[in-house]
């Protein structure tokens, strides 16, 4: 496929980007607002020599993902919060077995089955993890169709460089938004990585190998955890991603990811036009959290306002990043006909804090 600009739902932009960047096998189970990813994958993947397989449950999806990932092929899934919750046993396993794969979470209102309306309710489960043990999943949060197309190659490179699952999260409102997106020409990014040293491809040319066993002797368990610790430290040091604007002289910095992060561009333009000294930080990697962006904030910053489509999850990481140096405020909403704060409400809250 050649590069082309299409008018797509952002769920479909995910499907197109995954297929064009080398995903060969997509396993999924339908759930609003993520079903359009698997639907489009079913249609387009055969043209790339791949296949979408609908499994009988999310448990089956995640097990198939882990199994297929053992072969070194680029595999993916797409779901929403309730489905992601069910997949965590396998996600923890893949982190321990060091298996690369891609996951898309189109987030909806929780907890429980919640509501089909969009939310950012999965920040905790994405960045903290819902499985046991000292593991992390790399989490990337694009905020528009174009950023989806641009960030999928990054996600694949991270998954194979560090041999770890990479999770893309997007709120359901953005997922259902339709916009013009320039999609890349086909290129299999996973083919740039040599998997011969670990992938299960039959034993013709090498002796039997085991990626992981069910249990460890004491020293093996210690060694595995130390290896993972070193890997996560490297990722934390080298792979933080964020967008930052007009913070050099800001008195207040608004921090938001995904759709609220995108809205910050308008917020800053409107408030700067009124002479207000405001800037924004939009975390793009949620894990590793972009602590470096906060370390670099000037002394002029007297307040930080975090805005989320939940009741306050990322705000914890912002507080850890500034470590008491700057007061951190929170504005958030989840559920309802308009399941998020409007731009007008964000501006009003920033003005209220500036006036204190």
């Amino acid at each position: 496929m050649a590069q082309e600009t299409l008018f797509l739902k952002n769920t479909e932009a995910f499907a197109e980007s995954l297929a064009r960047c080398g995903v060969k096998y997509h396993f999924a189970y339908p759930i609003t607002p993520a079903t359009d990813v698997m639907k489009r994958m079913a249609v387009i993947l055969p043209a790339y020599g791949g296949e979408m397989m609908q499994m009988e449950s999310e448990l089956a999806v995640s097990s198939a993902l882990a199994g297929a990932a053992c072969t070194g092929k680029l595999v993916a899934t797409s779901s929403s919060g309730p489905g992601l919750t069910l997949m965590h046993e396998a996600i923890g396993f893949m982190c321990a077995a060091e298996l690369p794969c891609l996951l898309v979470d189109s987030m909806r209102v929780g907890p429980g089955d919640g509501d089909i309306l969009g939310a950012q309710s999965d920040y905790y489960v994405a960045t903290r993890g819902g499985a046991h043990g000292d593991y992390h999943t790399i989490v990337l949060a694009p905020s528009s169709g174009q950023e989806i197309a641009d960030i999928v190659p990054t996600g694949i490179k991270l998954a194979y460089t560090y041999r770890t699952p990479v999770l893309f999260v997007i709120d359901g409102v953005s997922a259902q938004t339709t916009e013009s997106t320039t999609l890349p020409a086909y290129h299999d990014y996973s083919a740039e990585f040599d998997t011969a040293g670990w992938a299960f491809t039959g034993t013709q040319d090498h002796p039997k190998r085991a990626l992981i066993t069910g249990s460890y002797s004491h020293q093996d368990g210690y060694d595995l955890n130390e290896k993972l610790r070193a890997k996560y430290a490297t990722i934390r040091e080298k792979e933080q991603l964020w967008e930052q604007e007009q913070t050099e002289d800001a008195e207040i910095v608004v921090v938001a990811f995904g759709i609220h992060g995108r809205m910050c561009r308008d917020l800053v333009a409107k408030m700067r036009a009124e002479g207000k000294k405001v800037g924004f930080i939009r975390p793009i990697s949620l894990w590793p959290f972009p602590e470096l962006a906060f370390a670099g904030l000037p002394d002029s910053v007297k307040n930080i306002l975090v805005v989320e489509m939940n009741h306050g999850q990322m705000v914890d990481d912002v507080r850890l990043a500034v470590n008491g140096r700057i007061p951190v405020h929170f504005l958030g909403k989840t559920g309802g006909d308009m399941p998020m704060n409007t731009l007008a409400e964000m501006i009003a809250e920033a003005n209220r804090i500036l006036g204190e």
């Binding site: 089909i116 528009s144 174009q146 938004t177 339709t178 013009s180 759709i259 308008d266 007008a344």
Partner: protein
């Protein structure tokens, strides 16, 4: 250039299709475009609104928050919402075939066109949305008429080629009705 639009009507009237035509036309004119829709458990006859932002620069907030400068009300039940959603100096296009007792506004301009009646005269009430879209293009200069005609030929022509001429006629009749009005 930045336009925020809301296209509203009853489910089945084709307000979302109007929005989609605008989006595809905007892409043809090398503009950026974002569309969001009311989302939930909708059914035919329920209110339906599609929001479109068209800009020559990358679009920040994708949400239209009662700040549309171009609004369309195809049915009575959605008229009040549309009326409340228009900014000063904006334009509200109303289907006068279906909206009785409209409100008065000093802040923004209102245009009343009997697009359902016009559509019936053209052959079917189902092309009322295209009559209205022609009027919007004439009244606002949002996109070129020829661009949207091209979109109609490509999208409708793919699935139902026999309906292309009817829809183009509907677009043109709305366009010229609005030109007469202004």
């Amino acid at each position: 250039m930045l336009h925020k639009c809301m296209f509203s009507g009853s489910g089945g009237q084709g307000s979302a299709l109007m929005a989609k035509m605008v989006c595809l036309g905007a892409i043809k004119e090398n503009l950026k475009v974002v569309m969001t829709q009311t989302y939930g458990i909708e059914q035919r006859g329920g209110d339906s609104t599609a929001y479109v932002i068209v800009s020559d620069e990358p679009i920040g907030s994708p949400i239209v928050e009662n700040d549309a400068d171009i609004a369309v009300a195809l049915s009575q039940s959605i008229y009040g919402n549309c009326f409340a959603g228009v900014v000063p100096d904006g334009m509200l296009f109303t289907n006068s075939s279906m909206v009785d007792n409209p409100k008065e506004s000093d802040a923004f301009k209102q245009v009343f066109l009997p697009v359902s009646d016009t559509a019936v005269q053209l052959g079917t009430v189902r092309c009322a949305n295209m009559v209205m879209l022609g009027a919007v293009l004439a009244g606002t200069g949002l996109l070129k008429l020829e661009t949207v005609e091209e979109v109609v030929r490509e999208t409708i022509g793919n699935k139902k080629p026999q309906l292309v001429e009817l829809n183009i006629e509907a677009l043109r009749s709305g366009y010229s009705a609005m030109k007469k009005e202004s």
